[in-house]
Amino acid sequence: MQTWSELSETQPTIARVLQNSVRRGRLAHAYLFEGGRGTGRRAAALLLARAFLCEKTVDAEPCLVCRECRRAESGNHPDVHRIQPDGQTIKVDQIRALKKEFSMRGMESAKKVYIIEETETMSAAAANSLLKFLEEPEGEALAVLITASAGQILPTILSRAQVMSFSPLPPDRVTKALVERGFREKEARTAASLTSDLEEAERMFDEEWISQGREKVVQLMNDLISRPQDAYITVHETIMPFFTDRQQIQTALDLMMIWYRDVLRMQVGQSDAVVYIDQEDTLTKQAFQLSQQKLGKNLQAVMDAKRRAGANVPPQLLVEQLLLRLQEGS
């Protein structure tokens, strides 16, 4: 992503606020870019840094050819500092070093940019050390803090930065991009419903993982209705051996959630909105067999399981309990 107009394709509001701010000389001292992976936060931060440093902007677009632009692009501009977690966290020493850097005169100009990635991993000491600095940076400084969720950031930091919330890429866009890269639509749709991060979605296709995982969950969902007595066996012989770690269990649960959501869509006559596009018959059938109330309960059950999966409940137990809930009263 090189220009504001490119950014505005996916994040129109943010692109407009930032571009206008550069154009009208109204940039804030600190921004917090909040959003999921793949929403373009990093690229937008770099774009902003360039637009800020470039000496020949045209309508606030960086020229991309001047020295400042080229050095920012290559990642070794002396006045662009990037901080990433050192191991698990961003440590107070990293912030101290940054401050020291800033207290010295600008290497090239008075302008300096610092980009902090995964800001939520800052230690309490690091965050506190950053506070005053954000409030009154010396010279012309621009801070861009990047995080997955503003909810995890200290309120005092939040209030000192302008928060920009990046919206996730709509699944249709991700699907389209995946299909363009040669993946089959039915699996592309599934991957796109699991993540809005294109790279992450693409990795799901390694060794046909997504297509296998999908088939297995479809089988389970089918069994739950048509052969309830077999569902337990399917879990043990098909689901558990394939979805092995915690992360994969979460994905399996997501796939189940999407299934019920599809059934619901069928029920309300929105067949064009389903994800399991090759399963229309089964979905339609289930749409007639499950009441909306039961569907709501099933969705809730899967969501509860998802939360429990994050809280150290053994996967085996978790899925078995879920199965019981899905089968009760049906």
Binding site: R26, N128, M257, L264, M303
Partner: protein
Amino acid sequence: MSYQALYRVWRPHTLKDIAGQDHITKTLKNALVQQKLSHAYLFTGPRGTGKTSAAKILAKAVNCRHAPAEEPCNECDICRGISDGSIVDVMEIDAASNNGVDEIRDIRDKVRFAPNTAAYKVYIIDEVHMLTTGAFNALLKTLEEPPPHVMFILATTEPHKIPLTIISRCQRFDFKRITSHAMLARMQEIVAADEIAVEEDALSLVARVSQGGMRDALSLLDQAVSFAEGTITKEDILAIIGSVSQEHLYELVEAVHSGSVGEALKMIDEMMQTGKDANRLMEDVIFLLRDILMVKAAPQLEESQDRLHGDDSFRELSEKLEQAWLFQMMEKLNHFQQEMKWATHPQLFLEMFAVQASQQTTALPASGESAPQSSTVEALEQKIVHLERTVQKLQREGVPAASQPQAAEQPVKQEKRSRNTGPSQKSRAVAKQVERMLEHATKPQLQQVKSSWGNVLEQVKKQSMPASAWLNDCQPTAASEEYVVLVFRNEMHRSMIDEKFRELVESSASQQFGAAVTLLTILEADWEKVKENFKKRQKTSPSGEDNEESGEEAPPEEEKNPLIDEAVRLVGEDLLEIKE
């Protein structure tokens, strides 16, 4: 040199400029004039409510050349020196980044010396709750015997983290969330002075979403200035915060309330596709319902009057929604809101809400928590439905034979029918009925049937497992106000439902749809033919008059009355069947 954010530029420089904290500023002004100042103050309250600003103003006011006065002059050398930080007697310490004991010890040592330029040494300690225990102890020593020329102002968002021994030595002021009224007044001052063009509506919205924090409000306004081309509108603000307009919210709540799950889901989808934020939408719905509850509970309240003023759709909506329903929804919403904060797919929680809440509407009497009451309602409902069906049957078929009880009438008739005709013939005969019925069938009707068909199945299942098993093979494919067409793949299934379980399924369906329903059961192959015929007919006669059909079944002239027409049609079919 670089651009200054609005909240920095408009940081208050006098007590009078601090919005919404009159109870505090009045006391401070009096203390300043009467020179009855304390040696230690504790300012507590949420962020963005003016604590640090008040501290700085107080530091200037006590030292100002024009003291004693209720405000600093901001003009004299002392005031200016404090503002630009050149007077070291006023020290601002951020406990968050200086939480060591050393810094506080340093204060303790230097505190004894007289001030350099100013009359008072003022130590402003921001985020004071961040101090370590050691540092608190050091601070306490100083607070116990403060030199006469020293003043401490401690500020915090989290007073509960401060030792009581410290609190008891301070005069405490609790800063409150700024009311939207006070916030609006301050913002109006600012936009007027900065010549920012902004619509009144837009400002109110900013005040509302900032929830009492001036800094958040000005920060939002700042973004709006960048975002807008020309005058800032309400739509600009909505776009920035990722919210939908009130009108869209009303529509969503209405859809949920009327039980239109499909519609609600579609709306949510559209909102998400246009980049709205799921969490924000959830919050907006909560706010809306809260407003409605307020208006219903206390219509005389000034806030209620404000909310109702000039918003007719809001008034209409609030009249439509029952208080009990609102309470139930609020409970659900709060629950979902808690859960969705951590979710990877927050949109799903919105959808879940739509599904469960819509369920609440349609199934309110049937599946409420309070079992005895709801089963009474259910029983009543069943009775009404039964009565309705009886009345309809009477209208169609005339008064039944003298001694025959109503309920038993139809099955008897069914048996008679099946004796007279072979199974597939039966399906074909129904085909004629279906063909007629299609003239009155509509898409929305079908949609309604489809979306609650699962409920019908459940209801049937409760009463008869075998019935539900036979029913699993079929699908509703057309619906009018009175009829539902069920298509079966298997004749065995079809006839079981048609003859053995008709009454049960019809009454479950009638109850579910809230109107009397008659089933028309048909085999898949016959259904396909009917569809073909119907399509052809639609082409040749767009008016779709049904008496243009084959002369055989044309009703007699004198029976144009739609009600009788309907009845005769049924009887006619029966006769027709026998002829075949």
